[in-house]
Amino acid sequence: MCPTDIGPPNYMTMLPDVIKKNYGKWKYHEILKPGVMKHVSESGDALYTVRAGSPKLVSTDFIRDLCNIADRYCDGHLRFTSRYNPEFLTPKEDNVEPIIKELNKLGLPVGGTGSGPGACLSNVIHTQGWIHCHGAASDASGIVKAMMDELYDYFVGKKILPAKMRLSLACCINMCGAIHASDLAVVGMHTKVPKIDHEKMHAMCEIPTVAASCPTKAIRRHPDANIKSVVVDETKCMYCGNCFTVCPAMPLANAEGDGVAIFVGGKVSNARKPPMLSRVVVPFLPNNPPRWPEVVNTVKHIVEVYVDNARWGERMGEWIQRVGWERFFTLTGLPFPVQLIDDYECARETFRSTTQFKWT
């Protein structure tokens, strides 16, 4: 019997020597160019990092390719960032260019660095989509590929941003990842009520759990006591799909009804303004595989308007706070449908209780 409860390997065994030696003794860092950082320790030691893009959904051969580079130039060590980017670390400055060359040979872009004025766009945090999830209202890998092909120049630093911009994607409103606190986010949405399979309900689902799963209390027991199932008040259902999460007998995926929403203006860092939640600015765009042109064009447009209008060092949410949401809609030309006005818990906090606003 193999051992259980051993936990992960001790990280200390995974660190390159230069990091073990200078652990906790770093003094400063600089970004030498897009994708390349230099960290300098109190001891005077330097550490060079080369950051590359990755599709996250990768084969074992991809990992072996990375290992070959790490064996050759980084004493057999590498790491990944919290946004899926592999990083190659070496104390030798002479290794930087050969690492970049090897990465480019594999078709991997080098970039994704910087958080202040002139930052690169980093990788897109994303989820499983139609590759592996049962609840996905949209795909993940497909849209991310389509978006990043279009925004590629921002990753490699051929185009630059006023400040850090975090782009993320979740394939349903469970919002796995950091979607609710990203500068720009794409979220899979349903727009049709679940179809109830009354035959399967009593065999597959726990009815009180199904009723309790609904944020708007749209679900109650079937009024006919002989039918062990539930009914949905269609006027109260906003298609979140949480009942389907707990009960297979309530599917709501629909080819034409499913699509994505666009959220903007969230952030997690505390720099300048406190962390912010992302806000909906486009309630629905259709799923249009394999390139999702409506989604890609909207995202690209918002990025470009932000780049053209934000002040140096200003993140999406900070820019919008300064100019006001009414200006955001004017500048982007996005319509303002009624779905953008909150009508859930604590909605009133989002209404404008002041005469201060701009004419549009």
Binding site: Y28, F80, S82, P86, S115, A255
Partner: protein, 393 residues
């Protein structure tokens, strides 16, 4: 059957590295991935997922760590009829040696699809797709080579920390050490789901929060300091001489106007006003550093929208020293989950329980004194409770 996949093939084009190319590489060795590509094409055609609901599978001794998945049409796609995911606990900071990575790749090529995620959003290595029969042998072999499963279900999910002192001059505590210690200490809570719902722990070394602890963990540990910024005036001078606009980019953006240029020097003129937001440090890393009396702020409650809306963590403990064996932090987490475990409804996250029962009740239960750092503003309504024992008769 038509084996062409024109829509999926389209995503091999373009400059960004293609996941479709990765699928095709794995498909050369694994029939399951050949079917996975066809399943992806089918979802593109039908604009819908092709996976059945749920799936409960696992390995002996554990209640979590494996996500079961079955394809809707197993006759047409027999090689992904069962296509389960294993979550493998990553080493702190996602640092690897190539020997360990190659071992994982070899094990996965032997037992599974050869497709992975490096990494899942919570931090785990995702081994994407194998049959039910292969789960136990895969786990056994991983375990023999020093790797264990991560979390899933109503358990402590895999804890995650930023790169911290491994490669960052701003780390206010040892994120990697703390996360490793916590993960080892709470192995049982991680592998055998005991709670009303999932719970997550994340640690960031400073308020830049590079693992998004404030948005993505019920228990967020974020590095900070109690003394003053350290400013190197020679380095400030060099920034100024290089043409860097200190006044507009740094001074004017300080959220509390705590820092100013005084006669060519950058001074923290109002040290008590500094809220340690990191902005000036971020922009002038060679000149400004965090203080030396470092520790962490502990915040609680972050979660995604379901059910009562998205929540960012809020301050619970303004400052705690973070030193091995991390007893204070571990005991605090234990107290919190004990209250939650006792009072939480099924599928109720910590923040939702706090909202339902009230922050005051939560603070009392875990024996934490209220303080103004916990709030943006005091309440505006007059609807508060008194403990009858505290009101004079």
């Amino acid at each position: 059957m038509d084996d062409r996949t024109p829509m999926v093939d389209e995503l091999e084009k373009g400059p960004w590295p293609s996941y479709v190319k990765e699928l095709k590489r794995a498909a050369k060795k694994h029939d399951s991935v050949k079917d996975l590509i066809k399943v992806q094409e089918r979802s593109f055609e039908r604009k819908m997922t092709q996976w059945k609901h749920g799936g409960i599978v696992g390995v002996k001794g554990y209640g979590g760590g494996v996500i079961g998945r079955y394809v809707q049409d197993p006759k047409e796609f027999p090689n992904v009829a069962a296509f389960h995911t294993l979550r493998v606990n990553h080493p702190s900071g996602w640092f690897y040696d190539t020997k360990a990575l190659r071992t994982i790749c070899d094990i996965w090529d032997k037992h599974g699809s050869g497709m992975t995620n490096f990494h899942g959003s919570t931090g785990d290595i995702i081994l994407l797709g194998c049959t039910s029969e292969e789960l136990q042998p895969t786990f056994d072999e991983l375990s023999e080579h020093g790797f264990d499963l991560g979390g899933s279900g109503s358990d402590l999910r895999t804890p995650t920390g930023c790169v911290g002192p491994g490669r960052c001059e701003w780390a206010c505590f040892d994120t990697l050490g703390l996360i490793y210690d916590i993960t080892k200490t709470f192995q049982s809570e991680l592998h055998r789901p005991p709670f009303p719902y999932k719970t997550k722990i994340k640690a960031s070394g400073c308020p830049n929060d590079c693992v998004a602890a404030i948005a993505r963990s019920d228990f967020s540990i974020i590095g900070t300091w109690r003394d003053r910024l350290r400013i190197d005036q020679d380095a400030v001078k060099k920034y100024a001489e290089s043409g860097f606009d200190i006044q507009h980019l740094v001074v004017a953006k300080c959220p509390t106007e705590a820092i100013e240029m005084v006669k060519g020097k950058l001074e923290l003129t109002h040290p008590d006003d500094c809220v340690r937001c990191m902005h000036c440090i971020n922009l002038m890393p060679k000149a400004i550093r965090p203080g030396v009396d470092t520790g962490a702020t502990i915040l609680v409650g972050a979660k995604a929208p379901v059910i009562h809306g998205a929540v960012l963590s809020s301050v619970l403990i303004p400052f705690v020293k973070v030193q091995p064996p991390y007893t204070e932090i571990k005991q605090l987490w234990e107290k919190i989950v004990e209250w939650w475990d006792e009072n939480g409804k099924a599928r109720e996250r910590l923040a939702e329980l706090i909202d339902r029962m009230g922050m005051p009740a939560f603070l009392k239960a875990i024996d934490v004194e209220p303080c103004p750092q916990m709030i943006y503003t005091p309440r505006a309504n007059p609807y508060y409770f008194w403990d009858t024992a505290e009101v004079k008769k």
